[in-house]
C-alpha cells in the first residue's frame, strides 16, 4: 500500500489500473481511485459512461455477463483484512455477501416478503431457525419497513409498493452484514415520496457502511454525496467534495466544463 500505509485503516478500497471490457468494447479504462470508509460516494455521468460496470467490479458481478474481462487490482478493506478481490483472495460468494448490491428496479424474489430475507440468511450465512426471526426483524427495522409489513410477512413480496420493495431489497442486503453497499440508481423507478424515504435511509446508513451509489439526478447527488465522482466514457473525469457541491453554480459550471 506504500505511502497510504499509515491511514490504511481509514480506507475502504484501493483501486489501481482497473479496466473492464466486454468482448471488444472497453467500458472502464485504467481507473485509479481511493475510497474512504463510512462515506457516501455518488457516481454520476451519462448513460454508457461505465458507472454500473464500475459498481459491479466491487462484487465481481460483471463476470455474470458474457465476454467480460477485468484487469488491474481492486483491494477492499474488510475490517480485519485487506483482500485483492481479483487475485481470488476471497471466494466470490463471500465477497458478494460482504459487498451488498441494490439494483435499479427492485428485484424481489417471487416469494413471500419474509422469504426474501430468510432464504439468503439460510443459504449464505447458514443461520438456523432460532436466529433468523430476530435478524429479519432487525433488517426490516433498519429500512423502516417493519411497521409496514409486520402483518404481511407471509404475503408475496410483489404486493408491496415499488418503494417498499426497494427497501426490502436493501433490508435483504443489510441482513447479510455487508461492509460496502452498492446502489445502482436505487430511486430511478420510484415516485418522489418513496425516493425521499430511500434518501433518508441512505443518509442514516452511511455512518455504518461505505456506500457507492449511482444517481441519475444532479440534485440527488448534491443532497446525498460526501463526494461525487463524475464518469465519462469509461474514465473518472472529475471529483467533487461535499463543500464544492453546496456551491451550486460552481458545481454546475464544473459539470458543464466536463461534458
Amino acid at each position: 500500500m506504500g505511502t497510504k500505509e499509515h491511514n490504511a485503516a481509514a480506507l475502504a478500497a484501493l483501486i489501481e489500473h482497473l479496466s473492464v471490457s466486454f468482448g471488444p468494447r472497453q467500458v472502464l479504462k485504467d481507473l485509479d481511485l481511493t475510497l474512504e470508509k463510512g462515506r457516501l460516494y455518488v457516481l454520476i455521468g451519462r448513460s454508457g459512461a461505465g458507472k454500473t460496470t464500475f459498481l459491479r467490479c466491487f462484487n465481481r458481478l460483471n463476470e455474470c455477463f458474457p465476454g467480460c474481462h477485468t484487469q488491474g487490482s481492486l483491494r477492499l478493506n474488510l475490517g480485519n483484512q485487506w483482500v485483492d478481490i481479483y487475485r481470488n483472495d476471497l471466494p466470490v460468494t463471500e465477497l458478494r455477501r460482504r459487498v451488498g448490491m441494490v439494483f435499479q428496479t427492485p428485484n424481489t424474489l417471487p416469494a413471500s416478503v419474509e422469504k426474501n430475507i430468510t432464504l439468503p440468511l439460510k443459504l449464505v450465512l447458514g443461520l438456523g431457525k432460532k436466529e433468523i426471526p430476530e435478524k429479519v426483524e432487525w433488517a426490516l427495522r433498519q429500512t423502516h419497513l417493519w411497521e409496514e409489513v409486520r402483518d404481511r410477512l407471509h404475503l408475496p413480496a410483489g404486493i408491496l409498493s415499488g418503494g417498499q420493495q426497494q427497501r426490502l431489497c436493501l433490508a435483504r442486503v443489510l441482513a447479510l452484514d455487508p461492509t460496502l453497499l452498492l446502489l445502482d440508481e436505487p430511486t430511478a423507478s420510484l415516485d418522489f415520496r418513496s425516493s425521499q424515504k430511500i434518501e433518508e435511509l441512505l443518509l442514516n446508513l452511511k455512518e455504518r457502511y461505505t456506500i457507492l451509489a449511482v444517481s441519475h439526478s444532479l440534485s440527488q447527488a448534491r443532497r446525498l454525496g460526501d463526494k461525487v465522482l463524475v464518469f465519462n466514457e469509461g474514465r473518472r473525469v472529475g471529483t467533487f467534495e461535499r463543500s464544492e457541491l453546496q456551491q451550486g453554480e460552481r458545481f454546475q459550471g464544473l459539470l458543464e466544463e466536463i461534458f
Binding site: 458481478l61 455474470c64 458478494r96 413471500s112 419474509e114 422469504k115 439468503p120 407471509h154
Partner: protein, 301 residues
C-alpha cells in the same frame, strides 16, 4: 386512410374473436362427438370384459376383451418415459440456458431442433432397428418390449422438455437472474432456489406437452412392443397393450358395432387418463410452488 385503419383494427378484433370461438367450438364438437359415442360404452365390462374386476386387477384373470390392460400399459409407458425424459430434458435445458458457451450451444440447439422434427414413425423404426442390432450382437434374446417403447417415447418427447426449460430460464428477467448471485448464492443455490422455481410454470407446460405426447403416440409403440390383447405387463421386457393402439386396432378391424363402441369408450378413457395426468402435474407444481413461497407464520408471535 383513417377509415382504412379503423376497418383493419375492427376487422382484426373480430377475426381474433372468431378464431378463439372456432377453436372452442371445434373442441366442444369433438368432446360432444366422443361423449355421445363413448358414454354408452362406459361400464365395467368395457374395462374387464366378462371377468371379475378384482381378479383382473390382482392379476388372477385375463381381462378378455376389456381395456384394463391397455390402461395399465399406457400409464406404465407414460410414467417410464417421463422418468427417463424429465431429468435428461430439464438437465439439457438448464445446460443450454445457463452453462453452454456459444458454439456448443448452437450445435446442441440444432440437434434438439432436428430431434423435434423427427416423425414418430421414424423413432419407432429406430427402436425396431436397435433391437435387431442388439439381437445380432450383444443380446440374442432382446425383443421389442415395454422398456424399448418407453426409451423411444422418451427420445420423442425430449425436445419439448429441453426447449421449454431453456426458453423459460432464458426468458427470466435479468434482475431475477442475478438477484441470488449478487447476494452470495452459489450458482447451484441460485439455480435450485431461484431460477428453477421462477421458471417452473414454463417447464410445467413442457412436461404437459411431453406427457400428452407420450400417452397418445401410436406410431412409436406400433414397432417397438405393443400388441393387441397382451394382458397386463408383468415386467419391463414384456409385451403390453396400450390405449391408443387399442383404439386404432378396434377402429380399423372392428367386426361388430359393439367393438366400435368399445373404441369410442376407450378413446374417452384415454382422454380422461391424460386429463388426470395433467391434473397431477398441476397439483405437484402448485404444491412445490407453495412450498417454495413458504407461507409460514414463523414470525407471527
Amino acid at each position: 386512410m383513417d377509415e382504412m385503419h379503423r376497418f383493419l383494427d375492427h376487422g382484426f378484433i373480430w377475426f381474433s374473436w372468431l378464431a378463439a370461438l372456432l377453436t372452442l367450438g371445434a373442441l366442444g364438437l369433438f368432446l360432444g362427438f366422443l361423449g355421445v359415442n363413448g358414454l354408452a360404452a362406459l361400464n365395467l365390462g368395457l374395462f374387464f370384459g366378462e371377468a371379475s374386476p378384482w381378479q383382473v386387477i390382482m392379476g388372477g384373470q385375463p381381462a378378455g376383451e376389456g381395456i384394463w390392460p391397455a390402461c395399465v400399459g399406457t400409464v406404465y409407458l407414460v410414467v417410464l418415459s417421463s422418468l427417463l425424459a424429465l431429468p435428461l430434458g430439464i438437465g439439457s435445458g438448464v445446460y443450454l440456458a445457463q452453462y453452454a458457451s456459444p458454439a456448443p450451444k448452437r450445435l446442441f440447439g440444432f440437434a434438439v431442433d432436428l430431434l423435434a422434427g423427427i416423425p414418430s414413425i421414424l423413432m419407432g423404426l429406430f427402436g425396431f432397428a436397435l433391437i435387431l442390432f442388439l439381437r445380432k450382437t450383444l443380446f440374442p434374446q432382446a425383443n421389442t418390449c415395454l422398456l424399448l417403447s418407453a426409451v423411444c417415447l422418451a427420445l420423442l418427447v425430449l425436445p419439448y422438455l429441453i426447449l421449454t426449460t431453456q426458453s423459460s430460464l432464458e426468458g427470466l428477467p435479468a434482475p431475477i437472474k442475478v438477484a441470488g448471485l449478487s447476494l452470495g448464492f452459489t450458482p447451484w443455490q441460485n439455480l435450485v432456489h431461484i431460477l428453477l422455481p421462477a421458471a417452473s410454470r414454463g417447464i410445467l407446460s413442457g412436461i404437459i406437452l411431453a406427457v400428452g405426447r407420450a400417452a397418445e403416440d401410436t406410431a412409436v409403440i406400433l414397432l417397438t412392443g405393443v400388441v393387441a390383447n397382451a394382458g397386463t405387463p408383468q415386467s419391463l421386457t414384456d409385451k403390453y397393450a396400450a390405449l391408443p393402439f387399442h383404439i386404432f386396432y378396434l377402429a380399423a378391424e372392428h367386426r361388430t358395432t359393439g367393438e366400435l363402441a368399445q373404441a369410442y369408450g376407450a378413446a374417452l378413457i384415454l382422454l380422461l387418463l391424460t386429463g388426470t395426468l395433467y391434473a397431477i402435474a398441476y397439483w405437484l407444481h402448485a404444491t412445490l410452488v407453495n412450498k417454495w413461497e413458504q407461507k409460514n407464520i414463523m414470525l407471527r408471535r
